[in-house]
Symmetry: C2
Subunit: 379 residues, 2 copies
Amino acid sequence: MTQLPTVDDVARVANVSRQTVSNVLNSPGIVKPTTRGRVEAAIAELGYRPHASARRLRTRQSSTIGVRLDPVTNGISGSVLDRYLHALTEQAAERGMRIMLFTANDLVDEIDQYRTLRDGADVDAFVVTATRHADPRIDWLTAERVPFVSFGRPWGADMDAANHLWVDVDGFAGHYEATRHLIGRGHTRIGYIGWPAGSGTGDERRRGWAVAMNEAFGLDEAELELLTTRTEEGVPEARRLIETMFAAEHDLEALVCVSDSVALGAMMAVNEAGRRSFPVIGFDNTPVAQAVGLSSVEQRLDQVAAATLELLMGATGRRVLPPGEKRPGDEEGAADMRHRLVTPKLVVRRSSHLAPVEETESADAGIAPAGRHHREEMQ
Amino acid sequence: MTQLPTVDDVARVANVSRQTVSNVLNSPGIVKPTTRGRVEAAIAELGYRPHASARRLRTRQSSTIGVRLDPVTNGISGSVLDRYLHALTEQAAERGMRIMLFTANDLVDEIDQYRTLRDGADVDAFVVTATRHADPRIDWLTAERVPFVSFGRPWGADMDAANHLWVDVDGFAGHYEATRHLIGRGHTRIGYIGWPAGSGTGDERRRGWAVAMNEAFGLDEAELELLTTRTEEGVPEARRLIETMFAAEHDLEALVCVSDSVALGAMMAVNEAGRRSFPVIGFDNTPVAQAVGLSSVEQRLDQVAAATLELLMGATGRRVLPPGEKRPGDEEGAADMRHRLVTPKLVVRRSSHLAPVEETESADAGIAPAGRHHREEMQ
DNA sequence: CACGAAAGTTTGATCGTTCAAATTACAAGT
DNA sequence: ACTTGTAATTTGAACGATCAAACTTTCGTG
């Protein structure tokens, strides 16, 4: 192996100039078909591949998106970021982009990383996850005009800030659908287990349940509050809670839970209490939910990933758009396309009890990851 | 914001030459301390950061490691790769390296990706996961002399191939310890639920159980086989299996399971059968195991990540070593340092039954991810 | 004090690509 | 044939860093 071929080598073989080769690669439209054919043949013959770093140096673009891995593994719902990452990597590749990972210990450190990656021309844009209220990272990125999208709404006044692009899953719609499903099956006393009030995500999910309950049975907020309990995330916590809940509310018929962890705890407690046919619905459709047959609301992370890239690069673009730019692909007056809410989908399983071994879930076959096969395991 | 500062700008301010600035950055040792101080001051003053792509172009190194995300989400054990990725990203950063992700649809496609990434000088090395028997990727990487490490042994004749670096978790040791633990608690009839024979990983784990049982009770392979059942991965599968198993083997006292999925299935079946105090131990220590209080064998993925980087870059190096090179840090005749087996660790929980709400696991506080807090969830 | 070696610093060239401007080829219109 | 305009192609320069070699300073030694 002597040396990797360069544009010059290709040019020599195809009997054209450097730049023409470059054009064939980057704007094939402006090269005469005959010539293009010759160049493409030469490329194939030599097995030429562009040197990514040289291109980046010249164009000042890295074709890379930076994603920070959260510092803590995320319990039972950890696979959410995992699946998002996967979808993002896959779809980014289709647009010629790559995903680069990094970690940070705290928000200050994270901003420092942003700066290094940006200045080093390592990445063109960032995806920010786990956004907080009044997030300093958002402020920095906005002020520096670094392109970014957050997965998660900025819960606060700045929710509609023109230059903050975000994608999120519509938790409201998810639990609205879940609750409608239960109502449709004839249940009326449907409880809710949520996180402590104040978490935007949690509140929004509960609102889905609340609105559905109100529409169906005209319950007011006070009555709804009686059907609600709140707990920190975690299976054992939820379990204890449900036990006390059962003691108090004897006529409960079903539960909608803010997460699969909580739902799993609930399910175990329900089972323990010997109550059969007691539906429990979670959120996230984690592998555990699938494993134990828990109904859950599936975040469609491929759609979230697609939306992320659309916001960053336009509908079909192959490069990151400068922030605050009018985005091509935004047809006419199409509302402001600065954020996307992805509607999740209820996956129904027989989650009423742990007991019966359930039939294989043929109904789920179409749903993205739920229908996929388990693989043996990384080996 | 006019323009990002370059080495030349720093040089001008510090009143030295380009190259001296470069030296301060890359080999501070050869620069006179006085000068170095001046340069560092200038760097700080201007907020200079090296342009990664320019450096890469010149040095032909990317300081980036490519990792392929598996095409299928991995059920309940999906978090294993996730946690490995995290540890790898973190530790790579400490050595000035980055992690880049990519996906591929099949092995051929994956090799094509390798080629593009390598030729484009996008990555210096690869981490290969989910290795198969007689893996074409390994052959290609070896033939092309591309540095790589596989997470997972090459189960086959080439296990000791000199130029194939690999890291793996010692499944044997894991289930040996698990079984010893059960024996120590007085159990004698300990069953094993494994994967179908032939999967290297699965066979190795079972061997840990088998050896422990043989040492303690002198059982021969025929007798061990009677205590073994095999199933495909998956909770419902395992559950059905255990039910039939109970019918046949009435004196079973405990179970060691090849994975957490299988263990969860077993646990549910056990619970269903109304058997209390029936210990079940899994493998992977997934979040689910923690959530439902299942004992499991924890892969120490931070150690796996550390070993990965050591093989790739030497004990403390900051760049990827050419494959087949004698690796600095290999003290004297220290056996061949071309692979590492990381010993996993048993995490004991009250996994005998689903019933009692367990006390918080203070005992686990020291164990890496098991002791960490759940976070609310990505929002 | 002069000499040579080592330490410290600078200079010119280069990595492989794309940009911007210049050049040539080709077609249509008078 | 001759301009004129557009399409197609080529040329020189630049992106920001490091390498290799040349140069200058410092220091130890006979």
